[in-house]
């Protein structure tokens, strides 16, 4: 059989493949360049390019980015988690409560909040598995449940979270979240990058990571190859819960309060970031780095539009369009 029939086709496919694989970064680069090109200039400073501005963007996207990393894992196995916003609200309120009323100390609070996230995630995964209910439905229910729980347990009111120096009762160390490395890079951004690196390495180098891709690629094949599919899926939800909880800790401290009504539509932002970053909603294809790039890109777009005084509603339009474009690109690649 001649090989000339096969090769040229595959070359074009490989190119398209790479384009889609790195679509998150390509998009990021394009948006960045557009931002620089269209930024207002005041006092000889390009307002977009300015370091302060870029750091502001990073700080703003960090929470979404951290959640998006967890969401990537869930989407990679072919599932979805709609409850992250509500879990964030619970976590943030819990953080405020533990740091002030309960006086748990920073480390203790962080551990308990992360554990609460893991618990929510575990329930999502376990219920979905045990009763064979699609994760869409289970996490939709959890979305209600976690928020209701947050309001019930903590009284439905926002809990102020102020450091002792600000007149509150929370320990100073907890506010490391507001610090900047070298006075420049915000801690939340560092956390996002650190989590991204760890997650990427784990996906690449651990058997569990490999299993995540396999289960997403074809759960039946994974099962027949000896992978513990249920375990893989439940773990992925638990991990997403933990990361959401981490984001909630950051959220509460940055906003000086834990509000059970916060976090609305956070799940949509996270999913948008994941999809724009090149991860397929069918599962089995995608990267954590792409999700971070996606979140960053969305933040940049918000910033560019804000600096140019474009209405907030337009930002919603842009976000929606981007999601469709990203998925369309993926479809094209698959059809080719």
């Amino acid at each position: 059989m001649s090989s000339t029939l096969a090769l040229p086709r595959i070359n074009k496919l490989v190119v398209l493949h790479t384009a889609v694989r790195f679509q998150g970064f390509l998009g990021l680069l394009i948006v960045f360049l557009l931002g620089v090109a269209f930024a207002p200039v005041k006092d000889a400073t390009n307002l977009f390019l300015d370091v302060t501005n870029q750091m502001n963007i990073l700080r703003y996207v960090a929470e979404t980015g951290i959640i998006a990393i967890g969401m990537t894992l869930v989407i990679l196995v072919g599932e979805i988690d709609l409850s992250v916003g509500a879990v964030l609200a619970f976590g943030a309120t819990l953080t405020a409560y533990l740091l002030t009323t309960a006086q748990f100390g920073s480390l203790g609070t962080l551990v308990v909040v992360l554990a609460s996230g893991a618990a929510f995630g575990f329930v999502n995964g376990a219920v979905s598995s045990a009763f064979r209910i699609p994760s869409f439905v289970v996490t939709l229910a959890m979305m209600s449940f976690a928020r209701g729980l947050a309001r019930l347990v903590f009284g439905g009111v926002a809990i102020p979270l102020l450091a002792i120096s600000q007149g509150g009762s929370a320990p100073e160390e907890a506010f490391f979240v507001n610090m900047r490395l070298g006075g420049v890079i915000p801690v939340p951004a560092l956390l996002m990058f650190a989590v991204a690196i760890i997650a990427s390495l784990a996906l690449r180098y651990t058997p569990y990571g490999r299993h995540v891709y396999a289960v997403g690629g074809n759960p039946v094949a994974a099962h027949l190859s000896g992978v513990r599919v249920e375990f893989t899926k439940v773990m992925v939800f638990a991990l997403c819960g933990v990361l959401t909880a981490l984001a909630s800790f950051v959220h509460a401290i940055q906003l000086n309060q834990g509000a059970p009504n916060d976090g609305f539509a956070y799940e949509l932002n996270a999913i948008a970031a994941v999809v724009i970053g090149g991860t397929s909603l069918q599962g089995g294809i995608g990267t954590v780095a792409g999700a971070v790039a996606g979140a960053w890109m969305l933040g940049m777009i918000d910033n560019i539009l804000n600096l140019n005084n474009v209405q907030a509603d337009v930002q919603l339009l842009v976000k929606g369009t981007l999601i469709v474009v990203a998925v369309a690109l993926q479809r094209l690649q698959r059809r080719a």
């Binding site: 929470e63 600000q166 000086n256 309060q257 005084n309």
Partner: protein
């Protein structure tokens, strides 16, 4: 279907340029005033923005930039950061929540930007001035009105359904506490149930409906904003309560066609208390601070007007309402 990269990029660039077009005109305004509004989605806020725009238009050297935080405190922090990045000469802000916005307001203030806080407070004192109505005072007046009305009607008990605003927000807390003070004048007035509509009429209807399901014996419906009172009115009618025997009152007193003045004229609401926004005052003070270097008082409290069926017509004249 092949997608060509080049035309696509051109299209994107063209689109962005179009969005950018207003900015491309030469900048000739001397002062940029940044206004961080917490939301655009209710009539009071819309009136707020309109009054701010009209007031700024009276100063030809003022450029007013309004940003919408869409009720997201995180976003509002980012909005203020961006306004600062744009080097605004003064910052006016109506904060979504007190604690989350305190740091960034302090940051602006410490950086030397005059900060005027409107309508809702932040914590601490790190701002140039606060202009607001006294929600507690207004709530108190509402409560006193209810006490008087219940006494006149001789209702015992006089059950009140309170529909409150967003629980984390200062206005809601103050309108609630002021009201509770005001009703003390009449011991028969009982605050039977309190639900929340988060300021939205759409949420007020089911919230009030749920309250009416449990207990139909309500004489007064008091909501923290007129829109929510209207929602309570709808729910009461749906629950077949005798609305002619009841009092529906709220706060805002807006003149637009969906507002309290028209509603009172049409017989739905019984009373409303104007909640002033302070937009015009803020612009005036910004002018004084920036151009004349005046040092303003830390706090300016705006008054209120009581609107009832008795004075609705003259109030309609005063506020130029959209009746008929």
């Amino acid at each position: 279907m092949t997608i060509r990269i080049a035309p696509l990029t051109l299209a994107v660039l063209a689109a962005t340029t179009l969005l950018h077009a207003p900015q491309l005109r030469a900048e000739d305004k001397k002062y940029t005033i940044g206004f961080s509004q917490l939301a655009f989605d209710d009539p009071w806020r819309v009136a707020f923005n309109n009054q701010m725009t009209r007031a700024a238009a009276k100063h030809p050297d003022f450029k007013l930039v309004i940003v919408n935080a869409q009720r997201d405190s995180s976003k509002q922090v980012a909005d203020v950061e961006t306004l600062l990045q744009q080097r605004v000469d003064a910052l006016i802000i109506s904060p979504n929540e007190a604690a989350p916005l305190t740091s960034i307001v302090k940051k602006a203030f410490d950086a030397g930007v005059p900060v005027i806080v409107l309508d809702r407070a932040v914590l601490g004192e790190s701002y140039t001035m606060f202009i607001g109505a006294d929600n507690k005072f207004i709530g108190n007046k509402a409560g006193a009105y209810v006490a008087k009305w219940c006494a006149e009607k001789n209702y015992n008990p006089c059950n009140v359904l309170e529909i409150s605003g967003l629980s984390g927000s200062t206005p809601a807390q103050e309108r609630a506490s002021g009201f509770r003070e005001g009703i003390k004048a009449n011991a028969n007035v009982k605050l039977a149930t309190s639900v929340t509509s988060e300021w939205q009429k759409a949420k007020a209807v089911p919230a009030a409906a749920a309250a009416f399901q449990g207990n139909k014996n309500f004489q007064v419906v008091y909501a923290h904003n007129d829109d929510s009172t209207e929602g309570g009115y709808i729910a009461a009618k749906n629950a077949n309560l005798d609305v002619s025997k009841m009092l529906f009152l709220g706060i805002d007193g807006l003149p637009d066609k969906n507002g309290a003045i028209v509603s009172i004229l049409q017989g739905r609401l019984g009373a409303s208390f104007v909640y002033p926004n302070g937009a015009a005052e803020a612009i005036e003070w910004a002018d004084k601070i920036l151009k004349k270097g005046e040092k303003p008082p830390k706090k300016v409290t705006l008054g209120t007007d009581e609107i009832t069926a008795v004075n609705a017509k003259s109030m309609c004249e005063k506020y130029d309402c959209e009746a008929k």
